[in-house]
């Protein structure tokens, strides 16, 4: 079987965020980029499935300029079999979904996994858009996946509980918390092997972005914390009632 795994190239979760060019661009200076945390879990679980069913080829894909290649190499070092970079600025979620759909059609994949949400634009869109373009079923926020007897069994979180589903191939699943428990990290051997694994660069297809960021803002600086003495907790109750007016 073959799976296409969409990998986000996102700022490390501890990054301090700055904007530049009159607040129209994200400032990439001094930012460490990583594989999106949900995609890391997705890759980990797919590797477990590969070990279980034997026949599973994992292709990591990213839509981005050359600077995203170290992130794809890392996915290869963790254990993906090969990688594809669609050479383009990821203009918006629809644009990215279109590119991945095109790659999907060119290959003989059986299903697609994406992270449930990118931690930069917090869009949570690419997987579902891709599913609609390809007319596949989609299962979002998947917290578990298994493959057995030619079908996939998945679990997803719903409001106040979880749902267990069975789905035929092909489909798109967006991975959420629980997809895997601890993300795998690359071993020395993995890093060595990754250098020899194929990373194919393909040209972008024509697609129009429909959204554009016109300006970024940093949050308003918070006013300083007001301290209440631990021996006088009634004061906190008073402040929450009279000043903040929320109780």
């Amino acid at each position: 079987m073959k799976v296409l795994l969409c990998i986000g190239h996102v700022p490390d979760t501890t990054s301090k965020i700055k904007f530049t060019n009159n607040d129209t661009e994200f400032d990439k200076n001094n930012i460490q980029f990583i594989i999106g945390p949900y995609e890391e879990l997705a890759l980990t679980r797919l590797l477990e499935l590969k070990e279980k069913i034997g026949d599973l080829n994992i292709t990591a894909i990213n839509v981005g300029p050359a600077e995203t290649e170290p992130t794809l190499r890392k996915a290869l070092a963790v254990g993906a079999d090969d990688a594809i970079r669609v050479d383009a600025e990821p203009m918006d979620a629809f644009f990215v979904a279109k590119q991945i759909a095109e790659v999907y059609k060119q290959g003989d994949y059986d299903f697609v996994v994406t992270g449930k949400e990118s931690i930069d634009y917090n869009g949570a869109q690419v997987g579902e858009m891709l599913a609609e373009i390809l007319e596949f079923p989609s299962i979002s926020g998947t917290s578990f996946i298994d493959i057995e007897g030619g079908k996939a069994k998945l679990e997803r979180e719903i409001d106040g509980g979880k749902e267990i589903l069975e789905v035929d191939f092909p489909f798109v699943s967006t991975a959420g918390k629980g997809f895997a428990i601890e993300p795998r990290i690359p071993s020395m051997r993995g890093i060595m092997m990754a250098r020899k694994k194929p990373l194919n660069v393909v040209a972008a297809t024509e697609a129009a972005a429909k959204t554009k960021v016109t300006r970024f803002y940093l949050p308003e600086p918070k006013s300083a914390c007001k301290y209440v003495d631990a021996e006088n907790v009634e004061e906190l109750v008073r402040l929450l009632h009279e000043e903040a007016k929320i109780i």
Partner: protein, 324 residues
């Protein structure tokens, strides 16, 4: 032309977030001078449907089709697509919850629309269509320009006020064609985690971290939640250690919440934790360590031992509730 709001129901009932959504839609309808229409799928009685008129809906489209008794993102997208076409919707609005997140991107593709997910404010302009949303997990905001004839928005729960605006709403049955191929993801079973308050909808949350030492110490946390009518949640290590159920994990890799009041007890305030809670209106931190980063984000702080502060605070909250 119209503004269409997808009003999800939970076993035939609407929630406060439904009315927030309509109130938001109604303000956009006023900006664009066009009627507000609500859409429901499933069995909701007419009285409940009429309540949508209290928040500006001039018409309610009601789809009842046994094929839609189970949710699949594909079939629901199809149904809402047909309704949006029928009423010539220019803006379609969803709640930024489980189903809204699953349907809205698909509908965006089907309607050739432009999507802004997780908005918290009204658009600043409708031509061009500009709306602000949080990015980088709340470390920033961005103005999005939506460049398509149809715009789709998903609104964060608890970010817009409920505004009453009475209309004599008309209820209209609407039928759709759902094919079996739209239902190919088959739910086998559903597990409900009791009738607890959903943390994404709670107005007050009491949250505990690793500073609470062990699951046996959550009694005082639950007690505070009960006094305040609040929900309970926790930091990631607490869920990872299985002191608390995973649904309670908030943060970058857990749920994103934005209550009116967030009380963090024994939580250090790591950047990944704050990413999930920094949309809260007021935050309180209780921590033994005066240097804990949470105090930089909090509005109110108590430097002290949770095992002493929380019982005292519960007493004070209880007295306040009895007096008010």
């Amino acid at each position: 032309m119209s503004i269409l709001v997808y009003t999800e129901n939970w076993e035939g009932k609407f929630k406060k977030s439904t009315y927030e959504l309509l109130s938001y839609g109604n303000e956009i309808a006023k900006m664009m001078n066009t009627p507000l229409i609500a859409l429901t799928i499933g069995n909701v009685d007419d009285n409940e449907l009429k309540s949508l008129g209290n928040y500006g809906a001039e018409k309610v489209l009601k789809i009842s089709d046994p094929k839609l008794d189970v949710f699949t993102s594909k079939s629901y997208t199809k149904a809402i697509y047909e309704a949006a076409k029928a009423v010539d919707a220019k803006v379609v609005i969803f709640s930024n919850n489980v189903s809204g997140k699953a349907i809205s991107p698909r509908l965006t593709v089907k309607l050739d629309a432009a999507l802004a997910a997780g908005v918290m404010h009204l658009p600043t302009s409708t031509d061009p269509f500009l709306v602000r949303k949080r990015v980088y997990s709340g470390k920033g905001f961005a103005d999005y320009e939506l460049n398509a004839d149809i715009k789709i928005l998903t609104l964060n729960t608890n970010s817009f006020e409920v505004i009453e605006n009475h209309k004599d709403t008309v209820i209209e049955a609407f039928s759709v064609q759902i094919a079996d191929s739209d239902l190919s993801a088959k739910p086998l079973s559903v597990e409900k985690t009791s009738g607890k308050l959903l943390i994404t909808e709670a107005e007050i949350l009491v949250s505990g971290g690793r500073g609470l030492k062990g699951p046996e110490n959550w009694g005082m946390i639950e007690e505070m939640a009960e006094i305040l009518g609040a929900g309970t949640c926790c930091s990631r290590p607490v869920a990872d250690l299985e002191w608390r159920p995973h649904q309670e994990h908030v943060g970058q890799t857990g749920k994103v919440v934005a209550p009116n009041l967030y009380i963090a007890i024994g939580i250090s305030g790591a950047i990944q934790h704050l990413a999930g809670v920094n949309g809260s209106k007021v935050m309180v931190a209780i921590n033994t360590d005066p240097e804990a980063p949470f105090f930089e984000a909090a509005d109110y702080g108590i430097v002290g031992d949770a095992f002493k502060v929380v019982p005292a605070l519960n007493e004070a909250f209880r007295k306040f509730k009895q007096g008010s």
